[in-house]
């Protein structure tokens, strides 16, 4: 790696170190430690909302293009200031609380929902040595924190005292609990192979181009994990909790102004962090040739987010029973098979392991889909008796 590259590669790390050194000249040691935490925290706290703002723009533009429209392009060049205009609009909107609502919980729900979304940012390795907190339980932490997201959705839906919100909340619960299971199980082979729960060392285990997605179990795991992440952040085609055409807006029907914006912020930040985790686990994180590590990371993450938007522009919404069926009858058995396949692949070296793993996965996929084939009821003919 040439010096210019390595300079660019570690530019953010060096910036932070330089700032800390500067502070170290004037302040005692404990303040420097505090400053280190504060800097990382502030960067993450700013990164989350900014990413959210521009994801809304990206989504509207890409979906627009896919539907043969331009999308927002009026505010600023290419509509780049649109998110700021939206933000101002949200702040100045009236905040409406339903009369019968549980006021405290109604207020708390949008605040609480942002917390887990922001907390996941802690373990995301944005680049070489760019993990805010390299926890030894990184992946587990991510799964645990993102499982909390159900609670604020419940709070919002229950406190609104609205049928649509309630139905949305119930659907969320069912959906999130169901999809957490295959999502967690899809991560297991990765942990088995990298022999660590820390996100940084999982990325390190994919050194060079040995990304996990290039193995049979990795590909299957990635596809399953990605489907589950789309379901976890309630994005189409899994957007039953906020199905516009059925439930007005689901659990955030009764929210307006900035509270509504907070729900949206959480949703988009979840979309980003879940894509980032998918990149970390399967697509080699920041690993990649030629470009600085963080460029690679953001490229891959935004590619996944683009795929999510692409899904939104393409697919109609699932029916509730189809949603549950896909999680429990297709994805869950596939993840179990995948764990087994990962073990086989590890212990049978060479081409045999590869082919064997691929064949087992393909056969089990085809078998499961054949078993899950919907029963088409026989056509009934009624003869009129005359």
């Amino acid at each position: 790696m040439n010096p210019a590259m390595s300079f660019l590669d570690s530019i953010f790390v060096n910036l932070k170190l330089w700032t800390l050194n500067l502070i170290g000249h004037f302040l005692p040691g404990w303040a420097v430690i505090l400053a280190s935490i504060v800097i990382s925290g502030v960067v993450i706290l700013c990164l989350g909302p900014v990413i959210m703002m521009y994801l809304t723009l990206l989504e509207r533009k890409v979906v627009g293009r896919m539907q043969n429209r331009y999308g927002p392009n009026r505010v600023g060049p290419w509509g780049l200031l649109q998110p700021i205009a939206d933000g101002i609009k949200m702040f100045t909107k009236e905040d409406i609380v339903p009369t019968n609502a549980d006021k405290v919980i109604h207020l708390l729900a949008p605040i609480v929902i942002v917390v887990p979304a922001l907390m996941v940012f802690l373990v995301v390795p944005f680049g070489r040595d760019m993990t805010a907190a390299d926890l030894s339980i990184g992946v587990l932490y991510f799964i645990a924190v993102s499982s909390v997201t159900t609670l604020p959705i419940f709070m919002g839906s229950w406190a609104s005292r609205n049928k649509y919100s309630m139905i949305g909340g119930m659907r969320t619960a069912a959906q999130m609990i169901s999809y957490e299971v295959p999502m967690t199980l899809a991560v297991v082979p990765v942990i088995m192979m990298s022999q660590s729960l820390s996100t940084a060392s999982i990325v390190n285990a994919q050194e060079g181009l040995r990304w996990f997605v290039f193995t049979p179990w990795g590909l299957a795991g990635f596809v399953i994990f990605f489907i589950c992440t789309v379901a976890e952040c309630n994005r189409p085609p899994f957007d039953l909790p906020e199905a516009e055409s059925e439930l007005v807006a689901g659990f955030h029907t009764e929210y307006s102004g900035m509270k509504f914006a907070l729900f949206y912020m959480a949703e988009y930040m979840n979309a980003f962090t879940l894509s980032a985790i998918a990149v970390t686990l399967f697509l080699g994180g920041w690993q990649g040739p030629f470009l600085p590590s963080w460029v690679w990371f953001f490229t891959k993450t935004f590619a996944l987010i683009f795929a999510m938007i692409w899904f939104r522009a393409t697919f109609p919404r699932f029916r509730v029973d189809q949603l549950m069926g896909i999680a429990w009858k297709l994805l869950l058995p596939l993840t179990l098979v995948n764990m087994l396949v990962a073990g086989l692949w590890y212990f049978i070296p060479g081409i045999t392991g590869w082919v064997g793993a691929a064949v087992i996965l393909a056969v089990s996929f085809l078998g499961l889909t054949a078993l899950n084939k919907p029963v088409i009821p026989e056509k009934r003919v009624y003869l009129l008796e005359n």
């Binding site: 293009r65 896919m66 539907q67 043969n68 899904f311 522009a313 889909t369």
Partner: protein
């Protein structure tokens, strides 16, 4: 009894239909950058900068035509349009000279665009080919009573404008008017002094 056949022969493997759908949207996405509107690209017309191409027969609010100068419009203030207008949005007053003798032109001609429903009856009934439907649509105003009430000065537009916006209709009408004038001139000829038409005989 036969089972209803769902088109599944096309998609032998679960998931191919999904990929086909995704290809459709992806193609749209790519086409939106590289193709023209009529080839599958974006066909949005960005209004204030670009305007819709208006077809020749499109029409909305009425205006008045004058030939030579705005002082002598075709309109004779006969008031037929005023009477025929279904929404009663036209108001005409005939001009009078100082002696109180009516002149055959309007003193006041007002159309309330806020009431007008663009039916075009005034154009149909006008015997003097004076009132026609315009195609100006950027007429939004802040006050319903002031900005939507269009007076005579704003309504009067030259015949050249009419020829520009509706060339076919204008040509027909001009030809008819010319023919009528020629006929009138021919009818008036015997009354003229002989030396005026002497060259012909």
């Amino acid at each position: 009894m036969t089972r209803p056949q769902i088109a599944k022969e096309k998609n032998p493997v679960f998931g191919t239909g999904i990929l086909q759908g995704m290809w459709v949207t992806m193609k749209n996405f790519i086409d939106s950058y590289f193709k023209k509107a009529d080839q599958g690209g974006i066909f949005t017309i960005q209004y204030p900068e670009e305007l819709c191409r208006i077809s020749e027969n499109s029409r909305n609010f009425p205006f008045l035509v004058y030939d030579a100068a705005p002082d002598s419009p075709r309109c004779t203030a006969c008031g037929i349009c005023e009477r025929e207008c279904p929404t009663k949005c036209i108001h005409v007053e005939m001009a009078k000279d100082t002696a109180g003798k009516p002149l055959r032109k309007p003193a006041v001609f007002e159309i309330d665009y806020g009431l007008c429903m663009n039916c075009g009856m005034c154009e149909d009934v006008c015997p003097f080919d004076s009132i026609f439907m315009d195609r100006v649509y950027e007429i939004a105003g802040r006050d319903r009573t002031k900005d939507m009430l269009i007076g005579k000065d704003a309504l009067l537009k030259p015949n050249a404008y009419f020829q520009k916006i509706r060339p076919k209709d204008a040509a027909d009408i001009d030809a008819r008017r010319k023919a009528a004038e020629a006929k009138k001139a021919a009818a008036a000829r015997p009354a003229t002094p002989p030396d005026a038409g002497g060259t012909a005989s």
